[in-house]
């Protein structure tokens, strides 16, 4: 089970002081937060990608490359990488490069982006969001797996004899999660490829995600990647803690009340009841998140949003201390209890390489030639991607 932090990188004035960080201060704060995530013993740092104020991370791999150099074990991910408005060729290049730079500590969470005006800035149209996500990913999937790609589609100029460089580290592409808040099409896509499914459930009631995740699990099984409980699920979360629960509520309330997205809307009490937001003591956070699997099944990755709505860096770092010292160690134990041995961990570069080697080894032992045809190779890599071969 992996625990981590995801940041959308918003620049928001601190509502208690009115002070807004500069772009430089916010960028440096994000980098400091990422390093802290490793220090406090968490596993993943994921960064959003945005191309409109008040969000600052337009170039995630630049920031993740820096973080890679400053950390040793931290897995670098995204929340999300825009599969609609980015050129899949550039995604293939950027993230393969990040794999090499970070020695494989990379995975990708793909998302469509829900800000209409961003699409035309990149020559696209939000009304084509789903077809873009489907076509772009089908190309990205091939660019990661085939050394020479001939391709044509609807949304991008054709490719003839194209090789994306560098090739993925050890010939194994970064694991891909598909993020979605409401579209069954994306759950279907994740299931089809045997990829992970990240449900950013921080805004909606859980019933909504129980349906989407249940659907993804069922389709994952139908596509032959493993049983439904072996599908790879990630969840978002949002917490604010102090030792004293009332102190946490008092301190967080002005940030909640003025937050982008939900500020000036539902009350903090309503929102904490309806969504995973938990404001209170570390024990309350533990109780809430230990119960997530009762609704969604045993899952692989839990990310928390901690650094938004104008919270000062000092406060965010204190929150990460609480998370790393008091919450996550207990959650690791709680979530390991009664977890079936057949439920896999989230794939990592090491596990994917091991699975690929196992396939080669099996093939050699059986005296069979390694598969040569493109489709057989793609099938092989699909099974490597989910680690299903080793289960």
């Amino acid at each position: 089970m992996q625990f981590g932090i995801f940041s959308v990188g918003d620049i928001t004035a601190d509502p208690t002081t009115g002070r807004e960080p500069t772009e430089n201060e916010r960028i440096k704060a994000i980098l400091t937060i990422a390093k802290k995530v490793e220090e406090v013993g968490l596993d993943v740092f994921a960064l959003g990608e945005h191309h409109n104020p008040p969000f600052v991370p337009s170039s995630p791999t630049t920031m993740l490359g820096y973080i890679a150099a400053k950390t040793e074990k931290l897995i670098l991910s995204t929340a999300t990488t825009l599969i609609t408005t980015n050129d899949p060729v550039k995604i293939a290049e950027d993230y393969a490069m990040l794999q090499h730079v970070s020695d494989g500590r990379v995975d990708i969470t793909l998302g469509r982006g829900n800000t209409g005006p961003v699409y035309p800035w990149f020559g696209q149209d939000i009304r084509q969001g789903i077809p873009l996500a489907i076509e772009h990913y089908s190309l990205l999937h091939r660019l990661f797996r085939e050394d020479v790609v001939n391709w044509s589609g609807k949304f991008r100029t054709p490719l003839q004899g194209f090789t994306a460089t560098p090739r993925p580290l050890d010939g194994v592409p970064p694991f891909v999660w598909h993020g979605s808040i409401r579209s069954p099409e994306i759950a279907e896509q994740a299931a089809y490829y045997g990829d992970g499914y990240f449900a950013n459930n921080i805004f909606w009631p859980k019933e909504h995600y129980m349906k989407l995740i249940g659907y993804y699990r069922q389709r994952f099984e139908q596509y032959g990647h493993g049983t439904a409980d072996q599908a790879i699920v990630g969840l978002g979360g949002q917490v604010f803690m102090r030792k004293n629960a009332q102190a946490a509520r008092d301190e967080f309330r002005p940030y909640f009340d003025n937050a982008p997205v939900y500020g000036h809307g539902p009350s903090m009490d309503e929102f904490t009841e309806q969504t995973p937001l938990t404001v209170g003591s570390p024990q309350q956070v533990i109780d809430r998140y230990a119960a997530m699997r009762d609704h969604f099944g045993d899952y692989q990755r839990q990310l928390f949003l901690m650094d938004h709505a104008g919270l000062p860096l000092k406060t965010v770092l204190e929150q990460l201390d609480l998370l790393g010292e008091e919450v996550v160690p207990v959650l690791r134990k709680e979530l390991a209890k009664n977890r079936p041995a057949t439920v896999p961990d989230a794939p990592t570069h090491a596990s994917l390489v091991a699975a690929a080697n196992q396939i080669k080894e099996d093939a050699r032992r059986n005296g069979a030639d390694a598969p040569h045809s493109t489709s057989a190779a793609a099938d092989l890599l699909d099974s490597v991607q989910t680690g299903s071969v080793t289960r």
């Binding site: 076509e135 069954p184 279907e188 009631p205 539902p266």
Partner: protein, 208 residues
Amino acid sequence: MTERSIAVISAGLSKPSTTRMLADRLGDAVASHLAEGGDEVTVEVIELRDLAHDITNNLLTGFPSVALEKALQTVHTADGVVAVTPIFAASYNGLFKSFFDIMEPDSLTAMPVLTAATGGTARHSLAIDYAMRPLFAYLHANVASTGVFASTDDWGSDEDGVKPLPERIGRAAGEFAALVATSTRSKELRDPWALPAGFRPMGPSGLE
């Protein structure tokens, strides 16, 4: 015997409101028309006042509360909708419009709709036809030709002696019930969690 469900939406702001009174009268009249035809009818009233905060929150956050989600589902899955609003500043009130603003765009496609409104004087009565009817036309609903407008006079001694309110309610309910009785819409609803026809999760533009 066919089971029919009718969603009655009332956008009255006071409690009690004449809008809710008219809504209840229409609901009863529709139910008895359908019952005469042999249908088993359930009428569910959605009082938007009770959901006003949730509706505003949905406008701001993009997601409905559990209670609002339930109301939206009641409307979407109904066999017919009776929509009643007070007329404010020459149109439906903001609460009424906001409720339809947060609905999924295809929620009311082919839905039989009975429009009705309340106001101080009969001089507002055309708002049903120049404001409410275009809204439901945009939503691809199937609006009954007769709408019902009730002014303050209609509830008292100065009511229209030639076409009193009960008669207008009866006529509108009859027309609407006929649309409901022949509608097959609720049997053909697409599961919102189902994939669109022809969807493929791979290949160029998902159509390969």
